[in-house]
């Protein structure tokens, strides 16, 4: 992969500018980063993208760490000849996380007082409830791009089966997320999903 230094700035700018659009949190941004990293620039592979998200979910902490994993894999792919992959991966991880957090944190810090004072105003309520409907749509696209991107629908019905079964289990039960991920990992490890 041919990544030059200025591409780091492009990536950091992408994270920083998307930060203030993360109305529904990090998950709602996944489709946008999928479009950016894979469709537009081809800087990450589909499997790096989805496994980064999976690892972030399997590990404790805020969902925003999924975005940091994109930086991790970008750094991995951007490592110049002769340098440690991990050094650049960590650099990508940290830089992307900082860029993703800083603008929205500053905005929150400065605007909180205003929102607290006006939280009963119809405009603020309409903003929150109106956007909720759109944000849920964007979150559904997130799971769509993870499954669709990585696998060819016709040849990997098993993937769709696992994803659909998970949806039903999340919907109907309170099974801990780690159990579901562990079962997925075991099924995948047996090789029934095919080789990649």
């Amino acid at each position: 992969m041919n990544i030059v230094w200025s591409d780091w700035l492009t990536v950091m700018w992408q994270f920083a500018s998307m930060s203030v659009f993360a109305v529904g949190g990090a998950i709602a941004l996944i489709p946008e980063f999928h479009r950016f990293f894979i469709d537009e620039h081809a800087w990450l592979s589909e499997s790096q993208f989805s496994s980064g998200i999976a690892l972030a979910q399997a590990s404790p902490g805020p969902n925003a760490l999924m975005l940091a994993m994109m930086g991790w894999n970008f750094g991995m792919n951007a490592t110049p000849e002769g340098y440690s992959h991990y050094l650049f991966a960590v650099m990508g991880f940290v830089l992307c996380l900082l860029c993703a957090l800083t603008p929205s944190c500053i905005l929150t810090f400065t605007a909180t007082r205003w929102v607290q004072k006006n939280s009963e105003k119809q405009g603020v309520i309409a903003f929150k409830q109106g956007l909720a409907a759109v944000v849920i749509g964007s979150m559904l696209v997130s799971s769509w791009v993870i499954v669709r991107g990585d696998f060819v629908l016709a040849h990997n019905w098993q993937i769709w089966l696992i994803a659909s079964a998970t949806v039903i289990l999340v919907w109907a039960t309170n099974i801990h997320i780690l159990w579901l991920l562990a079962v997925g990992a075991v099924i995948g490890a047996t090789g029934v999903l095919g080789s990649f």
Binding site: V23, S51, S138, S164, S195
Partner: protein, 199 residues
């Protein structure tokens, strides 16, 4: 903000206590930290009253950025100003980030083994299901939406189609669908008196 704190209300005594409390709760949170945050901050530490927590959470949701990050910023600022915000955000991210890096290094070492790469794909499929399941649960809360369930869900569906099928980027979709939805919601609730017991 200070006026919300009653004199008897418990509070973090130092930046260090704030940091470790948030680190502790972040390390217990899988697939999002919100349920743990509520338990630790309200029930265990008693730094929030239940009502106070819901109010802060409602504000955190309106702000752009991950809700739990916004909550940390607001929570840290309430007790220690800008430094408190910084320490709170560092608290929820530093240890989980370190742990995730270790996990990622581990998987990177063994990525070439078919069993490991297969396991990652299996987990990817589960992740997708987890996100969709969570979104659908959220969608059921649209039942009490001012635009009615079907009105709100049609914005959800249009957003999905625009982004998944037509591959529109997020920002234009958010601007067009979002402002449409917010505007219609506003028209609907404009004449309603502000009430405390809204959903």
């Amino acid at each position: 903000m200070e006026q919300n704190i009653s004199p008897t209300q418990a509070r973090p005594e130092s930046l260090g206590e704030l940091y470790w409390a948030l680190t502790g709760l972040a390390l217990q949170g899988f697939g999002g930290v919100f349920p743990v945050a509520r338990r630790v901050l309200v029930e265990e530490r008693k730094w929030f009253t239940p009502q106070g927590f819901l109010e802060e959470w409602a504000v955190a949701q309106v702000m752009p950025g991950p809700n739990i990050v916004n909550l940390s910023v607001m929570f840290g600022a309430r007790f220690f100003g800008p430094m408190g915000s910084f320490v709170a955000v560092a608290g929820i991210f530093s240890m989980p980030a370190l742990l995730l890096i270790l996990v990622a290094v581990f998987f990177e070492q063994f990525r070439d083994y078919p069993a490991i790469s297969g396991a990652l794909h299996g987990m990817g499929a589960v992740s997708a299901g987890l996100i969709a399941g969570t979104s659908l649960k959220m969608a059921s809360s649209l039942k009490s939406h001012p635009l009615t369930f079907w009105g709100a869900i049609s914005f959800t569906v249009c957003t999905f189609i625009l982004m998944a099928v037509f591959k529109f980027p997020l920002i234009p979709v958010l601007l067009v669908m979002g402002s449409g939805s917010v505007f219609l919601t506003y028209l609907k609730i404009k004449h309603r008196p502000p009430s405390k017991d809204r959903p």
